[in-house]
Point group: C2
Chain length 344, copies 2
């Protein structure tokens, strides 16, 4: 994160937000903005579209000046651009936001601070540039020392299976029940939703576990950190990140995320693991740093399924695993939260 | 690596070497130089000491000009300095080496190229600065695609247990038997010994497995890569690095390194794992990307043991594991190489 010319330690984004949708014409391109709006509607004041952009999140359209007048503190770039670069056509609007007193936050590969007019405007107007995919936070290597408070980590049979949304859904339900729970983000979209966190796959590998330890520090005995998982122990590219995150998180509870109809691992020619093997491997890994770690539920992604097949899949998984199974987006995560609380 | 002002892809150091021992007065401080000399004596032309330095590797003392005249291509900074910084008192000698046509190679935390007079001299004299702890190599994420050739990886029950020396000893014996084998370095000392490699714990975590895949590319069917392991699946700080390295290496054969008398994991308050658990966990991890992975031996570090205890430990481990066990430094790695070849 940069404050003007001064690079500082990582800190939180300031809501409320103006969501920048750029010139996106497909909702898929504005997935990050849609996620921020879905999970943090109370932080979203308005949306800003430029040129041919016509994606509509149903928020009021605002200029940076209008958003600033209504109290917005940060403009969130919630739109993906090919290659992760910041196109020149966006720069005047981004400068206008800085000039109107807004910080900028982006999950793009290219750093905001690497664009000279943005860097200059941030200095001139005393605004902050948050490049959430990158961090200047200096991490230590992991210590393995047990921390106070409780932790739940989502893990998965593969990438892109619902680990982030499962964690967010669990946090929402726990908070609605008056419990003391915080979502902890480990990827750029999660960070833009939560307003803080660490992109764990961008950390130098010596510090994976240490960064995960930093992310969920000592807390009250009844506090739950609900930590967003990354990758999968069964993905040949990313299992190292997953394992370091598991070890540093010291989870008391694991929720295993799974798409029942997926039979191949994403982007590589590998089979998805049998669910029981997946649960066993994650629990065994977690027990290195927390001997009491256990699985408390299976979260299934049924977005490509319909009808009775969904019910059948849930029943079968519950019989097979002895754990509650639910699609947290379709049916809510309550079954898992009930089981977690009843057995904690 | 920098060639003058131009940052290039990672490439090999050029032997022969002049070993810079600085002002070290303890052999322990010159451990890297001692390692390069022990494992690559044919690459070491001479040593260079300055000021009060009196560590002696038994090589001829040479100035940069003398070394250059005898054909040296690179001066290797083989001495550790507190904090990993390059002291000002070394700079004139390092510039003198560049002026005499030598490249510089260092495993220090501080980059050679971050020292302005060295950067300037490298440009002026057209020499290269190798900061082996850092790399400008761009890695891809892992693919998990099986590569041709054979691979042996050393793994361990802990850090600092002999993984590098075991791999180097196995490479030496295999080459002496006329086999086609290459040591593949994954840490800075290993890189200075091998002249190439990647400091895997300095790679961004998304690319651990991809960097390991890059390190041991497709090769002849009878070729063995002997890959230096890092960390341990049982170390709460580093297991993520270890797992990514295992997956990217796709080892056919694992040699498990172990110190029989160690009962606590280095730097953290964790027990060392039972040897059988350690072997099983590493083989299981390796089978994700190579279903034929198997353990072929146990390499023990007996440097803190003596007398009959060593023989007893080896016998007990062989009975317990059914695998050959040896201290490769004390007794050579032949028992393991014999078993590997007899069963491959």
């Amino acid at each position: 994160m940069d404050t003007g010319a001064v690079v500082q330690d990582f800190a939180s984004l300031s809501p409320p937000y103006l969501l920048f949708l750029g010139d996106a014409t497909l909702l898929a391109a504005a997935k990050t903005a849609a996620g921020v709006h879905q999970w943090r509607p109370e932080h979203c004041l308005g949306q800003l579209r430029i040129n041919e952009g016509n994606v509509d999140l149903g928020l009021p359209d605002m200029t940076p000046a209008q958003a600033s007048a209504r109290g917005a503190k940060t403009m969130v770039l919630g739109v993906a651009n090919p290659g992760g670069v910041i196109p020149e056509s966006w720069v005047p609007t981004l400068v206008e936001a800085l000039a109107n007193g807004l910080d900028l936050a982006s999950g793009a590969h290219q750093k905001l601070s690497s664009v000279p007019p943005l860097k200059a405007a941030a200095v001139q107007f005393g605004r902050r540039l948050f490049d959430v995919r990158h961090t200047d936070q200096v991490f230590e290597t992991g210590t393995g020392v047990k921390r106070t408070g409780r932790r739940l980590l989502t893990v998965g049979s593969d990438c892109v299976v619902g680990k982030k949304y499962t964690a967010l859904a669990i946090e929402r339900v726990m908070r609605a029940r008056g419990l003391n729970a915080d979502f902890r983000a480990t990827g750029q979209t999660g960070i833009l939703i939560a307003g803080r966190g660490v992109a764990i796959d961008a950390v130098v590998s010596d510090f994976i576990a240490g960064a995960a330890e930093w992310l969920s520090p000592d807390n009250d005995a009844d506090h739950w950190d609900i930590i967003e998982g990354q990758g999968s122990l069964f993905h040949p590219a990313y299992a190292g990140v997953t394992l370091g995150l598991i070890h540093g998180s010291q989870p008391d509870a694991l929720v295993v995320c799974h798409e029942p109809i997926r039979d191949r691992i994403l982007s590589v020619d590998y089979p998805t693991p049998p669910l029981l093997d997946c649960i066993a491997a994650n629990v065994a890994a977690a027990r290195l740093t927390n001997p009491n770690a256990r699985a408390v539920g299976v979260s299934i992604n049924t977005s490509r399924m319909e009808g009775a097949a969904i019910e059948r899949a849930m029943d079968q998984i519950e019989r097979e695993t002895g754990l509650p199974c639910t699609d947290p987006i379709r049916h809510g995560p309550d079954r898992i939260v009930d089981y977690l609380l009843a057995t904690s």
